[in-house]
Amino acid sequence: MEPIDIGIIVSGVMLLFVVLGMRVAFAAALAGFVGLTWIFWAKFGYNPDKFMKALTISVKTAGQVPHAKVSSQALSLIPTFILIGYLAYYAGLTKALFEAAKRWAGWMPGGMAVATVFATAGFSAVSGASVATSAVFARIAIPEMQAMGYNKRFAAGVVAAAGTLASLIPPSAILVIYAIIVEQDVGKLLLAGFIPGAFSAIVYVSLIVGMAMIWPSYGPKITGYTWREKFASLPPAFPIFFVVGIIIFFIYNPFGDPWGTPTEGGALGAFVVFLMAVIQGMRWGQLKDALLETAKLSAMIFTIVWGVLIYVRFLGFAQLPSAFADWISGLEQSPMLTLIFILLAYAVLGMFMDAIGMLLLTLPVVYPAVMALNGGEGVLAADSAFGMSGPMCAIWFGILVVKMAEFCLITPPIGLNCFVVAGVRDDLTVQDVFRGVMPFFFADAATIGLLIAFPQIVLYLPSLA
């Protein structure tokens, strides 16, 4: 049996285990481990005497992946970005943002939902993880929306969808992961996410307003706040702009040189939020809570990282990535069509996978193919297929892929944001949240279409830096 056949069989078995409810990280690691053993034993001609040797090589190969792969500086941004989100919650920033958004945007049709989207977008500027953001706003926004008589599924859908903004608007853990895999400038990628993130938020808001105008029962508006009340809500939310400023200035300083590296910016932002939380009265008990939540989410993410990478290591030995790259670059059709097919494939894959796992699994294979489609890493805009230079194409594709990955956080059957919202609010089942989030599929499809048609939305900021 050829390694590629082994690769396909083992991948099928992995999907089966995932569907049967095994923890995704462990199903992937198991598939990788079994696949490696199979490949090494095949190399020994399935000689029964050499099975132990093949097993030993496989165990040791798989066993070095967890340590080797998580010991990276760039990955250290992820727990920092998670911690900052939890600290912001304890610093009262979430509530303050939500209150301000409610008073200023509540007059619109679907006002509370609109306010939720704006508050989430603001919170996204300090939170690097979609899942954490959804978890936080599920606690704050859903009860308020339900109290206002909002459809509970719709309310849950708004929170699950708006949470995805956290991964486009910097800081963003998943943009960091993309940058690591494709070896591109983290700072420029983070910068590039800003406008598409804000743009996505506006598309969500338009959708909500439209729905609330057609079906008023979906989201009654809230009125009656005086100007005094409106302005009173601003100062508590103000510190968030300070923190955003710090992070931005470490990545991109419009007035001169940036102040440091993105790693430092993330950590410094977290430190400022920490100080604010302490001033707000956070004590050891709450800090411990934040640290434990950070530890839990970090363990969850890193377990997926190394689990999937054991599987990716097996794919490397099975030579699947190079087979795929050859196939893609051999296609005789327009590069744009191929790109759209790739993004559609992500939408399908994303139904079954979580975002980080999907990127880790596919990018080593897909990214080189996309760069080749555009005309190579060093291509000039004038000679390229998509009308942009190699480095710009890397950024553009990164934002598209991250938007797709975010999309898969809200699509069934594995949609992490929906799971978390249902997990935090147990009066909601996962199925409820998936139903509520469905309208937002159309919003995301529209956003992605516009990002493809108008790459400037993505590339404007990074081209300045």
Partner: protein, 312 residues
């Protein structure tokens, strides 16, 4: 026979000898002996020796400086100001060292056999701001240089600053560091040259040593014909490597001219000052540290010196 080979990054000058080795092997054995070269799919670059030791793949490339404790003997070639000026000299000293029994024993712990070097040019620095062309001007200079090279710069009052290779561009842009030390191809790859105002053409402070190794059992299991094909292909593969790297150096000169980067020349007097502070003490410290582990350190240093003398 089919060997899996673990290298990293993209196909480039640095891996050109492995690529051409594969072509020559297939030609000489009529396709019976071939290499599957994987760019990062089989291992991370810092774990390549582990993979060889496990037997996961048969051939690999790594750099000694990534993990000194894994390969203490090889780091003699990474000492500052060892005196290597050209890639040809780098090949000669590497091959002499690889043939030494103490070095073979060191790598033997990983079940690895040294096949050939991937000679790297000297890690000259690119810098922003005012040109630093004397030792005195390096005082307080924030430099991205790791390991022994970092210590060498520290000896003349510079401040080694820890930044990952991928963050060097940001780090230069934001003033986290003023200068970065890399070989030319890395200055191009990590775009530090795009930030640079000047480049030290003749500082030649040192470099890293990056051998190609093979799994000893796999090497021993080759047929006589295959082994002969492999052994006889090493010299031409290295010759090809030097040719390809020559193109990189030409491109480097073109980029320097295009970006109007100043080529900084240190006077012999200034170089001597640097060597006096950085080279001698580092060498003595290395000999002491390695001798304590039972490594014939003085012998290795002498071997490098005598080989260099013979090749001039």
């Amino acid at each position: 026979t089919e060997w899996n080979v673990s290298v990293w990054g993209k196909p480039r000058a640095f891996t050109s000898h492995v690529e051409v080795l594969n072509e020559m092997l297939q030609e000489k054995t009529g396709g019976a002996f071939k290499l599957n070269i994987s760019y990062g799919g089989l291992s991370s670059n810092k774990e390549n020796l582990d993979g060889i030791s496990i037997g996961a793949f048969e051939m690999a490339q790594f750099c000694a400086g990534y993990h000194e404790d894994k390969n203490p003997t090889l780091t003699v070639l990474e000492l500052p100001f060892i005196g290597v000026n050209t890639l040809e000299e780098e090949v000669a000293v590497s091959q002499a060292l690889y043939a030494h029994p103490a070095v073979a024993k060191d790598l033997g712990r990983w079940n690895a056999r040294l096949l050939m070097p991937s000679p790297m040019p000297q890690y000259n620095i690119v810098g922003t701001g005012e040109v630093r062309d004397t030792v005195a001007k390096m005082d307080g200079m924030r430099v991205r240089a790791t390991g022994g090279l970092g210590e060498a710069f520290k000896a003349v009052g510079a401040v080694p600053t820890s930044v990952t290779a991928t963050e060097t561009y940001n780090a230069m842009e934001s003033g986290v560091v003023d200068t970065v030390s890399f070989a030319q191809h890395a200055h191009l790859a990590f775009r530090t040259i795009d930030q640079a105002d000047w480049w030290t053409a003749n500082l030649n402070p040192g470099t890293v040593n990056c051998p190609i190794v093979v799994n000893t059992d796999a090497y021993d299991a080759l047929s006589d014909e295959e082994r002969a094909a492999l052994d006889s292909s090493i010299e031409p593969a290295l010759a090809h490597y030097l040719e390809v790297y020559g193109e990189v150096l030409k491109k480097w000169d073109a980029v320097l001219a295009e970006r109007e980067v100043t080529k900084v020349m240190f006077t012999e007097e200034e170089l001597d000052k640097f060597r006096a502070v950085a080279a001698g003490p580092a060498r003595a410290a290395w000999i002491e540290k390695m001798s304590a582990q039972g490594i014939p350190a003085q012998e290795l240093v002498d071997l490098v010196d005598s080989t260099l003398a013979d090749n001039r």
